[in-house]
Amino acid sequence: MIPFFKEFKQQATRLTHDLRHRGLIQTALKKYEISRDAKKSRFQSWETARQAAAETKWEAINHLDKYLVEFAQKLEARGTHVHWASTAEQARDIIVKIVRDKKARSIIKSKAMTAEEIHLNDALEHAGFEVVESDLGEYIVQLRHEAPYHIVFPAMHLTRGEISALFQRELGSAPTDNPEELTMIARRALRGKYIAADIGITGVNFAIAETGMISITENEGNARLTAALPKTMISLLGIEKVLPRLEDLALFLPMLATAGAGQALTGYNTMYGGPRQPGECDGPEEFHVVLLDNKRTHLLADAEQRDALHCIRCGACLNVCPIYKNVGGHTYGTTYQGPIGSVITPHLRGLQDWKHLSSASSLCGACTETCPVKINLHHHLLQNRRNAMAEKPVWWEKLAFKGFAFVVNRPRLYDLGKKLARIGQAFHPLIKGTAFDPARSWTQTRELPELAPQSFHELWKERK
């Protein structure tokens, strides 16, 4: 198997040269930027709202045990089954068992990044069940046997032409380049699936401790249908989704919508507090909530980076990241892409395997500035680099820095180096860009700046 960092480098190199891909992503994200700015400016104070959101999440995460217990108790009191899973495998087993016990034939699913994280669909299909993704973007990438390209916009990398070709091949539909017709093809294909499904699986955006509710944010109504029609509903969430109070949603729902998609409020924000209650006419007979740790407590134990658990998965940091815009979502090879993915993946899947993501950054800080819950993203990338090096030092880097320190601490030696470099520079064109070029990784795509004829130090001496 190719190491993850090599795979990343290969894909990144390929995609940064793919001008069609870059054009597609930049057009899509430009539209997002315009509507996000318009909606942000309607806030009386976006900055104060950010601070209020950051402090609310801080309160929840730093008392996580208390709020999780309250959340579970409140749900159980109204007939919901709450399951706790330490690992991805346990979560998969819990869900597969529920589906088996119900002798289910088909499953309808609404978008859940946590389900991607634990590869739930593979597990269910392996156990012999049909799972259909109902979010349009997720449905498209599922038909392509592909991972979501973006945590909020899963099919952002595809053109309508590619989607039409996919639907022709997989669904036998007529060719069209009209997005509305394409959406209606999916709508028709999925309507029957909702009605036939025995099980509905959803993700969760927020978990309300005070009232024992989950809250789901969506635009299409697919999660509403998934939670209304099948007899059994299963919701999977990471333990960090907790908010203390119901009214916290009054702040978090509009912030998620604005930061995530440039909307004032997402189409449907729905809270579920249990299965069908006495006196209600529909809804699932059984409701299961699966709480997943899967190394989140590892991140929690790192007090310095604990605020990464404040993340509400809005995707805003992906949308502004110059690296994401150039290398695209699939290049990361992770469930969570972009700056937040680069910060948390080393905690979830191992620092040494995923430390390269923290170096794939210009440290421009756009992510930190845009984050609606004020996660200190770009500093966490630096901390990951530091931690990776402390845990497993690279001998030649250490040696190189020792050599560098040795030279710069000796002015005469440093002067000599400068003189030699000026001479060497004259011969550089002979080897420029070849395998013998020590500056090859730079000179392959860029010009090396010329050394000035006189250094600052020399100029200073002369003037005096």
Partner: protein, 225 residues
């Protein structure tokens, strides 16, 4: 040890070290003031009912919700009849409620009433789902419904056209007041579903181009009298 206990003990162990105060990395002074008073930071809403109606209308236009302000119940009845005629409704779905009973009193169409249980296929093939609501929210152009106030979970999302019948005094200024209402009305026993509906069903999943009616209703009409 159960997984519940294992997770909780890992959390308690982790929380022994405290985390820095949020927002401290920002070199600017963190904004002061009563942070919990969200109404002061969220988008502004006028104080008078006229301003709030105007804002709800403006938001509806942007969202492509068909919002109609009606001066009397008798006009409400004729408004519904005219929509029904224009869209050639053959059958409708509804729930029981004083407002709906009045509003549909003249509509002579086969209908299913979800309160008593219903056949999903019959609901799916209805031309419209007609519901009441708990509140309208001016700030975002949102309709607040619950499984108790709006005929269950599916009625407001399965038929292709969702029609909401509301009273003027149900209009609330902003999201914090909507959550305050939920608490006041339901704190003893919440409905199993509470939904904030903001515009008809929509998607931008294909090239970020807006399409209405992705899975839920293609049309949302709010009739307010």
């Amino acid at each position: 040890m159960s997984e519940r206990e294992a997770i909780l003990s890992r959390i308690r162990e982790a929380l022994k070290v405290s985390a820095p105060h949020p927002g401290a990395h920002d070199h600017n002074e963190p904004p002061a003031g009563d942070l919990r008073n969200f109404s002061k930071w969220l988008p502004a809403v006028g104080a008078s009912q006229a301003e709030q109606i105007a804002l709800f209308r403006a938001n509806s236009t942007e969202l492509r919700t068909d919002f109609r302000l009606i001066d009397s119940m008798s006009h409400m009845v004729s408004e519904i009849a005219s929509i029904s005629g224009k869209e050639n409704w053959q059958k409708i779905a509804r729930h029981r409620g004083a407002l709906i009973d009045d509003a549909l009193s003249m509509l002579d169409l086969p209908s299913i009433t979800t309160d008593d249980g219903y056949d999903v296929n019959a609901l799916e093939s209805s031309d419209a789902g007609i519901t009441e609501c708990d509140a309208l929210i001016a700030q975002t152009g949102t309709v607040l419904v619950t499984s108790r106030s709006a005929g269950g979970r599916a009625l407001s999302v399965l038929p292709p056209h969702h029609v909401v019948i509301a009273r003027r005094d149900q209009l609330l200024p902003d999201l914090p007041s909507a959550f305050a209402l939920l608490k006041k009305k339901y704190a003893d026993s919440y409905p199993s579903m509470i939904s904030l509906i903001t515009g008809p069903s929509r998607t931008g999943d294909i090239e970020r181009i807006l399409v209405l009616g992705a899975h839920g209703p293609k049309k949302l009409t709010v009739l307010c009298y």
